[in-house]
Symmetry: C2
């Protein structure tokens, strides 16, 4: 009984960014309290628009709407199709139409109820409608709870590159209820754990190995472990965002595995791999490249592969020619000038930005997988 | 000879906004120096994209390209169709495609060569491509030189409302060569003068009457007077932007005439009135409404109409029903909650925000014109 009460106490973590500061609110069984929290945050707003997708809405839209209406919100809703494939200018444009139809005012918020796609796209809509209205993240996937809902990276994808069109635009509140993970597909849960273990790979070898050790319990959604993992990740993310909000430097380390991962997603037209799966494969490739270039300790790739396999994640890239890889990565937004920057590893727990990777090195890497 | 030299000395005015600060550079016959200035500002960038329209490009794209190439820029170009009608999500999306095709990097700038439409749309493209790349305003209309190129309001329009989709995103440089006005259509010149006299109507009765007095010389493009007017307007604009970058308060006064003006543009599908013409009519309506509600001194409307007629600008609204007006204005982005906020006048030279205008007041105003 005592434990149960503790589980229900909120953990609140403040992302301090001057006038763009906000709370991450983490609490089990808190979804029905969202309306009251938003009423406190926006005392003068009358209306809001909940944006969700056709997988999440049947599960959680009603409880969110009832919570909002109980706090005297007039609720509009807009439902998009689920998946990265629909994270496009076209879908975003339809969201803008819905906002125009609802005539939302400058002080009236958007609520993003869903995973990373819904959060990124809703945030970009909030950034652009009337040159910016408030938005609230209510992440319903593990990946969104541990990573994409925090930090204000919003975007849609372009056929030539993932997340190439977007804005840095912070939410006004991140509302995390880990209980919603109970309904998450196993594949989605694993994809989220790829981003969890990523924080360990970049900064904290102990955390990396703890996640690997607890893999089965995490996959079985052990309450305490899941909540601890979410909180740890939100802290890592918030800390780095506070240091480097617009990714001029250190924040770029969070892209470990993403240059390869985004290429994998783009080359397979956003229909084969979940984002977290692309990142898992991408981290294995980054680890192998780090060893190939003598940056990393021998065995780094092996540790990476072993941990991701314990989480039941894919570790081998799909087969494309080296030139297809380079082309897909050439459009990656982390480029500076005509070079591609890669996040590489010195060891598990220590990542760095490599500016000097040559196309030839990538060719050798790709060939090593064939 | 001495005068001529003075004419060619640059006036530089700094818009101080912390890390978003930039210079407004005003100088006759300076278009061919743009490349060198941009080379100084972006020493490590290799490529840029000039965005222009099919009226301006035949006149000035070559000189700009040659100037850039002389300073070792690799220049891409993208030409849009001229006019407010094309200031849409669709045109913006095509600009994004062109940026993707050019593979512009995060540190490589866009150059907006054109009037307000080109500047607003290019700025919004710069704000969104890779979550923000630098952009430079090279305004070629009087309206853009005195108003829209300074201050970082970027946008495209939606069928239901002007400039409803956009971002606050500051340029890195505003490069004004008043000599380009020599090729400007007379109608465009007059539209620009509507925004010039607007600054006087809001803050400075003496400036208002000076512009009225000098109307013929300004319409004849008297070098000294035109340059003085541009400089004065840039200073007014920069000052207010420095006080209130994102229009939380005082900056909204610059929307004098714009709530009515945007409605006029939208109701006529952006094909009949230039923006400045809509603003001219809108300022007359705002003046009449100010008298109707006993805010303004008697004769305020008459002064406004007289000055705008001296500039050969339209002063009478097109005929639409009051409900069509209210509907068109209901989508105006200056709303707070369900009320419409109007910028009204106490007298020529003193504007204020009125929060309490009722729909009925607007009905009376519209009927007074029939």
């Amino acid at each position: 009984m005592k434990d149960n009460n503790n589980m229900k106490k909120p953990d609140i973590y403040r992302v301090a960014l001057d006038e763009r500061s906000y709370d991450i609110h983490l609490q089990s069984a808190s979804l029905h309290q969202l309306g009251a929290a938003m009423r406190d945050l926006f005392p003068h707003a009358e209306r809001c628009m909940v944006i969700s997708n056709d997988v999440v809405a049947p599960l959680y839209l009603n409880v969110v709407k009832e919570s909002l209406e109980a706090s005297l919100w007039q609720v509009f809703e807009y439902i998009v199709e689920d998946g990265e494939y629909f994270k496009t200018v076209d879908t975003w444009s339809k969201i803008m139409d819905a906002l125009m139809d609802a005539r939302l005012s400058r002080n009236e918020p958007i609520v993003a109820l869903g995973g990373g796609v819904v959060g990124d796209m809703s945030g970009f809509a909030a950034a652009c409608y009337r040159r910016g209205i408030p938005f609230v993240q209510v992440p319903t996937t593990l990946l969104a709870q541990v990573d994409s809902s925090v930090g204000g990276k919003t975007a849609v994808s372009h056929p030539h590159g993932k997340n190439m069109i977007g804005a840095f635009y912070q939410p006004r509140l991140v509302w995390i209820d880990p209980d919603v993970l109970q309904t998450l597909e196993a594949k989605q849960l694993r994809a989220g754990l790829a981003e969890v273990i990523k924080y360990g790979a970049i900064w904290d070898g102990d955390f990396f190995h703890a996640i690997e050790r607890d893999a089965q319990a995490l996959l079985a959604l052990d309450d305490t472990l899941v909540k601890q993992a979410i909180l740890a990740c939100c802290r890592y993310k918030a800390e780095i965002v506070m240091q480097d909000e617009t990714e001029q430097g250190a924040r770029a380390l969070l892209n470990l595995g993403h240059t390869f991962g985004h290429a994998i997603e783009a080359m397979t037209h956003y229909t084969v791999y979940l984002h977290g799966e692309g990142v898992a494969i991408g981290m294995c490739m980054a680890a192998r490249l780090s060893e190939q270039l003598d940056y990393a300790l021998k065995g780094t790739e092996k540790s990476m592969v072993k941990a991701l396999q314990a989480l039941d994640l894919p570790v081998t890239p799909p087969e494309f020619t080296a030139s297809a890889w380079l082309d897909a990565m050439g459009h990656d937004k982390k480029n500076v000038g005509s070079r591609i920057r890669y996040v590489l590893l010195k060891k598990i727990g220590e990542a760095f930005m490599a500016e000097d990777v040559k196309n030839q090195d990538i060719e050798v890497l790709i060939e090593s997988y064939i």
